[in-house]
Symmetry: C2
Subunit: 142 residues, 2 copies
């Protein structure tokens, strides 16, 4: 590929971590609106001021690093069932993919210092958070 | 922070690059639906089979690495104008943020081998692509 795809330049520095009662993938729903519980976004001290302006009632997109996912997978059965035909991972929401970035649409319930209570959140306890963005315009994303 | 936030574990491997007539940030719109042109997503050979199942007409979320962004910024004037009050980057769509992952909602116009023609795309030529996901359910995201 071209020179602008040098590896090693793109290291994510987590800005926080998901704190949730969900502690295993087996218990987690596939998507937040399929029963994702409340969770806390616990933001690091260095990144905490990036939350300024976020308040209860806001709709956010939370980007996570799905640390339990496999990165060597390009084909899956969507939703993990053999009843669906195998397809490329970029046509699915499988967590297994070359760069397992999770995308979660949540509502803010409470902001307390550098902790944000949100729902629904299907990511398990300990999942690193890499970015938070507001939902804008025709954006609505879980 | 806790032990599950070890740095260096989270390296993105670009799966492709944006090919666009937009070659400078000065010419790029702030958001795709503010005049973003067509662009090609040129996927790497190793990742190309992840596209299987994507066809013209699909609505996709493209995640990019905004390689020109600043990572040391936690506060901005939204939309770059001093007329808006300073706020935390996580409450804005500023490209400047600790992990400058761009999120773009696009429509697929054409798929040719490992190249996908999409619109609108406000990212400039050479922007690394890190993930592609389908728009699902109540998801719609640019």
């Amino acid at each position: 590929m071209s020179a602008d795809l040098q590896e090693g330049l793109y290291t994510l520095h987590p800005i926080g971590v998901v704190r949730s009662a969900l502690t295993s993938l087996a218990a987690a729903p596939l998507q937040g609106d399929e029963g994702g519980p409340e969770a806390w976004l616990e933001i690091t001290v260095p990144a905490a001021h990036g939350l300024d302006g976020i308040t209860a009632g806001d709709e956010l997109l939370v980007l996570t690093w799905l640390h339990c996912a496999r990165r060597d997978v390009l084909h899956v059965h969507p939703r993990g069932t053999r009843e669906t035909p195998v397809t490329g991972v970029f046509a699915t929401r499988s967590p297994d993919r070359p760069n397992p970035v999770g995308l979660h649409r949540v509502s803010v319930r409470e902001v307390t210092g550098r902790k944000v209570r949100v729902a629904p959140m299907e990511a398990i306890d300990g999942t690193p958070i890499v970015d938070i963005k507001p939902v804008l315009g025709r954006l609505n994303e879980r």
